[in-house]
Symmetry: C2
Amino acid sequence: MKPTNTLVSPLLTDFYQLTMAYAYWKSGRHEVPAVFDLFFRKNPFGGEFTVFAGLEEVLRFLSSFHFDVEQIEYLRGVMPGCEEGFWDWLGSIDCSAISVQAVPEGTIVFPRIPLLIVEGPLAIAQLLETTLLTLVNYPSLVATNAARFRIAAGRDKRLLEFGLRRAQGPDGGLSASRYCYIGGFDATSNVLAGRLFGIPVAGTQAHAFVSSFTSLNDLRETTLVDARGKRRDFLGLAQEYRHALGYRQSNEGELAAFIAYAQAFPRGFLALVDTYDTLKSGVPNFLAVALALAECGYQPVGIRLDSGDLAFLSREARRMFRAVSERYRVDFERLTIAASNDLNEQTLLSLNQQGHEIDVFGIGTHLVTCQAQPALGCVYKLVEIDGQPRIKLSQDMDKMTIPGRKEAYRLIGASGNPVVDLLIQAGEEKPRPGQRVLCRHPFDEAKRAYVTPTAIVPLHRPVWRGRPVPQPSLNEIRAYVLEQLASMRQDHLRSLNPSPYKVSVSEKLYGFVHSLWMSEAPIAEIE
Amino acid sequence: MKPTNTLVSPLLTDFYQLTMAYAYWKSGRHEVPAVFDLFFRKNPFGGEFTVFAGLEEVLRFLSSFHFDVEQIEYLRGVMPGCEEGFWDWLGSIDCSAISVQAVPEGTIVFPRIPLLIVEGPLAIAQLLETTLLTLVNYPSLVATNAARFRIAAGRDKRLLEFGLRRAQGPDGGLSASRYCYIGGFDATSNVLAGRLFGIPVAGTQAHAFVSSFTSLNDLRETTLVDARGKRRDFLGLAQEYRHALGYRQSNEGELAAFIAYAQAFPRGFLALVDTYDTLKSGVPNFLAVALALAECGYQPVGIRLDSGDLAFLSREARRMFRAVSERYRVDFERLTIAASNDLNEQTLLSLNQQGHEIDVFGIGTHLVTCQAQPALGCVYKLVEIDGQPRIKLSQDMDKMTIPGRKEAYRLIGASGNPVVDLLIQAGEEKPRPGQRVLCRHPFDEAKRAYVTPTAIVPLHRPVWRGRPVPQPSLNEIRAYVLEQLASMRQDHLRSLNPSPYKVSVSEKLYGFVHSLWMSEAPIAEIE
């Protein structure tokens, strides 16, 4: 199991991981057992949920973690003066002494719940930090963004990811395609994502295709073999329909382009209709060619709108489709109307309010750049060393860590929805269905509640025990995300003022955190 | 010459490029000569300049452009029904029939100036679109962002890029490191960027290192061999200084961590001082260890602040350094103060206003995600086909393209600064030094000006003529960026209300654009 991107190697890390590794080694502490939690503190996009993604690549990275001779040569050059024994040690390590627990990929997660719990020799677990963060942060961020677009668009719309050209380079784009699919998109324009991950690919034509034809004279081939095998005067048919429909203003180059495209894909004719004028030229030309296709026994697919007032244009286009359906007794009423053009979550919500006839949304820039919040702030914190719990103190309560090894459970309420995630100390008595449990806010003394769960879902599973535990497929993960989105209380998921989902600690863990905090935090002396 | 990222291949594209290619092929137009311009319409970040980057990877991509058997197999599956001849053609193409002109990598560029001009057979030039956009958009965006941070920080500060964990996955991070260096950063934390591109790497320790030590008992080694080869009681020395300085509140685990780090890197001791309390614990512990080091003949490096009021803390730390310098006659006054923690361009400007003592800035999230504008909107537009100029019409004047093959010149004014970029038609008489030239706004009739340039810089150079033209090194490109930043009028570069730099067209090109526009744009009929 190798990383999808060959650039993923132990060198894909921050330099300080290596200087720290040397300092650990030099002080003889590199093999002290340590536990790190990887988690985030705040849901992105002003929302109240996050979709965890990136786990498969994490396991691929752990599988291949090893410094080769050439990498060590480079490191010697940038870390002069380190003792020989360190390089021997560095060349010898892998992840066989590491164990990792994780929430399953695609799980809807909340702040402070460890997404990964990494245990093993201090220096090795430390060396993994940056790469793990890189492999989890963006995938989880963009999967969450995709899920938000899915919620905004509704379950019955088709969502296409078109972001490759606006992502952070080649595998920014590739990650976007993969994790947007997990988050609930239906297809991508990214062909490489199709080939590597089996994601359905989608797309038809760009403006350049339409404008590359200047007149009907550009058509070297004017016929089309119809569905019954008979060669027909396709250009003539299209022109007749155009004339019959009274479309005099439609652009001739555009008509030529549509004819050429329909000749190439008689069963996949979807036309980009806004190159000249959507309602005066694009839709009329589309309908002329679509009717010619229908006469040849092929069902056209539809149109794509890429500018203008998408709600209005989609309604007008649907109206024109209906009119032609009635006049020619063809089945054009339900033709696909796809829309693209700088769509974001808010535009989708606004389109819903206005009423629209769009079936398919193609979304690029705002989806992949996560404009509303372009980074998820996952952190990787030491919570235990040599059996001793460690706490990261901070004047800012929100930035404190919850020390020690922990377990996490999702408590299901009477309605069947998840109601709270509960962190307990490792080894503490687990919550049980039907048994009332006191759930406390980790830092705020005043916030506490009893919950009597109807069911309990343990959140962590072992995913690495010196070797990877097999994981579900991309399609299984995607289905899991969609299923959870349906089973959550919808007020946690909505865009406007969502209600926070509760993440609590047990009474015992609460007491433990606070006694450790009291013993470690210095009391300021006011001078 | 292969792409740095092995994922870069002709499949790293939008699916519609392939459906269009088939439609071009099917209509016999795939080899018609075409010209495409790659350009952007608006400078990012509310600014008035952009740094062009990504060219070397563009050339690597063109060099390796070829569909292999396995890729074609995949495409057959997703494009059923395409004729055999198309797959033969697709398997046979490369970029030997393509020629590309470009502005040199690192050039400061402005809207509408083509960054790349791609000429060649229509279908091949079209197939390049998405990958070229992906390879130019983010690199140029992040290089521009880096240049803005450089301007905000000033020339004498050291800037470190720390963004790997917050970038869009592995090579989002790698691109960020590479192009931030081009834009004027001094080093990166990304070790892989160091190894692949020779960028200096930087970093020392994280909070986990500091908190992994709980007490002085964790130090298995308490001595240090001094600069003259004598073994000294290093722990004892540090404790003596701590005592002498009256630092009673400093955290003992932190002191142990600093001692361990100094033992590992006696010549590279830079300490992260905010784990417990910057002024009560971190700086005192640092100074105790720094004095012990100095006594052993090693000069310490400095501290890193990662939270709190950076301006205040840096001034206080400097004050403490001075006090110790005077008391012990050591050279600590100019010790490095590095700062990190969610810095952005505005924070840097605000720190400058407050007055601070920071020498080095470590910048991550806001730099690599380009939070203020996470995508640069480069587009790739057909401007000529079969010798005929093509214009992309739009109700929005700003979205119109400038048709035909063009040349671009930078006109230098009397002061020696660039004053205007001028686009002319290919073959038109070039502007000459000392000769007055009329510069017109491409779309706004009212905006025109005479310029008498003192010098002329042609902006485009051939970079690909069926094979790559050798390009400058990363360090040469970086120097070129910094040199241009110094030679531009500073009001174009400033953060607040920068003045736009003029991009004009010649009288002849103006007339040509507008006559083509009049002839192609339909006149609406008001009904």
